[in-house]
Point group: C2
Chain length 494, copies 2
């Protein structure tokens, strides 16, 4: 091993331990830390986060990366390590252009605005958040100017969350989707609506936990390389392909929420667990492209999890665990989990209206970053668009523009990833059918492992190595297109 490589691996390992400490502290704070222990854990997170930041942004580390990249040693590195050196260097080159004082102020404003957003949402008073949002938008544009001078800010932001994606492509597929979806929604809503008795039952949280265990095992989550926890909001976190964790939350009168969270987070986790072991402990061990990652959680949750065939092998077992489901037939259950309705909260939306929730947010971000909309006009704009796409006006801003936390920490450009995930899913489903034939008969016969194996083989094992555009090209052999998703909706709902 060359001297530069050795030096780099030592630093990379050290950085890995600081990051692992931060991930573990965060996991623990959400799943285990008692209230009184939070300040102690938060201080430790700041300490290790600072350690990681100092190491990774130091001149010494930057010059080491540069030297290694330009040396003969680079080619002798593993594929995962080459990816690590290459992407770290690229990101550092951008980030080093951000003035230190600017960055410090930007982080400070983010902390401030996360608190003001919480307060604004709690009291449904947008004016408490507006001024900070205004600052965040201004500083985010400025930051894009530092990292990617000459590039359009909103495109810089999109690229952060879905590398290689741009607004031209998103404009095209979102417009295509919107045009198809709006009339389709009218038709769906005109049909008779199912009336479910599910929410009249009582479902023991411990039993729901057993259902989660059953569903995770069913879809192929590895408990050898994964575990589960309980938190306020479900999430997935990974230390390596050998240690991937999902959380859930159980509501006594809603068994569906925890079931679909289990499947959704399980989909994220199955991606992380099935990355090629050769990429472990490199920056390629986890897919950082949010749309692609979301496509996998949503494939399990929606494309598979909302089909009747998915439930055929497991529903009777679930009925045993949750007695109040025993007089709800599989057909009634499947009707309920595919109940399309216009509701205010994105995270609780069905798979059809969910798309419109995202299109709305994407259009809002366009207004902000390209149209120059004023911060004080945003709630009105939000409500107009809600009226237009979902046929109601939010009761208040807490149920409208303040519902998501994404803007409060300047995650502008993140929202489109969710919908890109669904659009990819439409295309993946076509490609999967071409390879495996009828998905429903596979599922009905308990052969979900075949479906999962296809996703592992085509998508998961590459981790971060393939960009979303490359995956689409390799797997589907055609450019990005919303038509397969529209067709999937049409066939299912009309």
């Amino acid at each position: 091993m060359g001297k530069l490589t050795e030096e780099f691996l030592k630093k990379w390992e050290e950085l890995g331990y600081y990051r692992r400490a931060c991930t573990l502290l965060s996991w623990d704070m959400y799943t285990a830390t008692p209230r009184g222990g939070h300040p102690g854990m938060a201080d430790a997170m700041t300490f290790f986060g600072t350690k990681a930041f100092e190491l990774s942004t130091s001149d010494a580390f930057y010059h080491l990366l540069k030297e290694l990249k330009d040396s003969g040693e680079y080619d002798a590195l593993s594929e995962g390590m080459r990816f690590t050196v290459r992407t770290m260097l690229r990101d550092l080159e951008k980030d080093r252009r951000i003035p230190k004082e600017f960055y410090r102020d930007y982080l400070a404003l983010q902390s401030k605005s996360m608190r003001s957003w919480e307060e604004a949402k709690r009291s449904s008073d947008y004016s408490l958040f507006g001024p900070d949002l205004d600052g965040l938008i201004r500083m985010t544009k400025e930051k894009c100017g530092f990292t990617d001078p000459g590039k359009e800010p909103y495109n810089v932001l999109i690229d952060l969350y879905e590398e290689g994606m741009d607004t031209d492509t998103i404009d095209r597929v979102f417009a295509q989707l919107k045009e198809g979806l709006l009339p389709m929604l009218e038709q769906i809503l005109a049909k008779p609506q199912p009336k479910s008795r599910i929410y009249e039952g009582t479902y023991d949280p411990d039993a729901q936990k057993k259902v989660q265990q059953l569903l995770l095992e069913y879809i192929g989550f590895s408990f050898e390389n994964g575990t589960v926890g309980v938190s306020e909001h479900p999430f997935t976190t990974s230390f390596s392909p050998r240690d991937v964790r999902v959380t859930n939350h159980y509501y006594e009168h809603d068994p569906i929420s925890s079931m679909f969270s289990a499947i959704h987070e399980g989909g994220h986790a199955i991606f992380d667990q099935n990355v090629d072991p050769a990429l472990a402990d490199t920056a390629a061990q986890e897919c950082p492209y949010m749309g692609l990652h979301e496509s996998q959680s949503r494939f399990f949750e929606n494309i598979l999890g909302r089909r009747k065939s998915f439930w055929v092998p497991v529903y009777p077992k679930i009925q045993e665990l949750l007695p109040d489901l025993q007089d709800i037939s599989l057909d009634e259950f499947v009707q309920e989990i595919n109940h399309v309705q216009c509701t205010p909260i994105r995270t609780q939306a069905d798979e059809v209206t969910y798309c419109l929730h995202i299109i709305l947010r994407y259009e809002m971000e366009q207004e902000i970053f390209r149209g120059g909309a004023k911060v004080e006009d945003l709630p009105r704009l939000w409500n107009e668009k809600t009226k237009q796409y979902l046929h109601f006006v939010p009761e208040n801003d807490a149920q409208g523009i303040l519902q998501d936390m994404h803007w409060s920490d300047a995650s502008f450009g993140y929202f489109p990833s969710y919908l890109l995930g669904s659009i990819y899913d439409g295309m993946f489903l076509d490609a999967m059918r071409a390879d495996l034939g009828d998905i429903d008969s596979l599922l009905e016969n308990g052969q979900i492992a075949v479906v999962r194996g296809w996703l592992n083989e085509k998508i998961h094992r590459f981790g971060a190595l393939r960009l979303p555009g490359e995956v689409i090209k390799e797997v589907c052999g055609r450019p990005l297109d919303a038509e397969p998703l529209l067709r999937y909706f049409r066939e299912k709902y009309l």
Copy 2:
């Protein structure tokens, strides 16, 4: 704040973060890490452990401590920080006399012998562990020679776990106890034995978890400053008085194990949670004297938890949670949890024979460190003593000399702490009765908070500030004596 103080506090804080990372990694490995994730967590623990070791044993830190201790700034420190500086300096002065290579070899032998002990226990083959045990004994004596030259090694070891305690005192009270206990055990065993139907039932682990919750709340564990987890063996771990965690393990056909583990670990936790908040983040925030700590867990578990009056306010609620207890009366239950019998495993022993299990181990350690017994003769000696005190010969070494892990990592001198804890408890009970009157009527009336408040006030709040001997003197006003414990046993069992 003086310059030395500032410099010290910065280092102390950094050390605290490394130690916190180690504690959290360990907690996570026992309660959450999936099997595949263990190597990654273990490597991180080595990294942060090394960081802590390097910092705390560095010349710079030693000289800083020395300078601070001798400066005018020392007196301006808080009581907890003075304790921190004083004890760290004392320990460093001892530990710095251990040659680095020796220490490295000692740690390496400990890792090796922990594995060989596991293997030996699994296959019940003492010969797999004997040679490593021999090396550990030799090196431990040598280590004592480095840290405390001229002092008798076994006294050095005892002092590690119960500061201020020595073999003269232990010899005296253990002899007193043995003399009283051996004939008492004959008398107890001659009485008719209870026959319990408890172990014929089935007890849902989720319901046992609810029982644990109920018991912890009942005895006064704070969920604001504490949480619970599940692990193979129950334990307590503390980050600070604001974050104290207990674990448990649930056996489907034994509800008593998890109930008493909850009370025992809850007792440890209540100690840690009730240390004076002014001592938080100092070395005095947790009591490092094992006998004194164990006295608190055992006070809750035995002195309180094995009285009928303790169960009067909670047993009906527990019967609701565990239906198979419903036709077991409170009297039958209390008989079962006070069933004295000679059984092979220390950790499963009743409160009376437990004392003999410890006396046996103490005498074994005396033979090893003072009598020069040969390692190959230890199993024979162990079995002879078991026969003599408990009237049976262990079936094999796994049920005999190999049952405890303590010797495998060289924790010689730890065992006596357990029994010292019980002896303290006899004395604490006398002192408590003198202050509070009849304990049973307090418990029966649901006033366990009064009992806990007394322990908080007399013992817990001082954390590490008072040595066990000082606590005994302050609380009981008399020297250490086993008679109160013997009297407690006599009154209860004869």
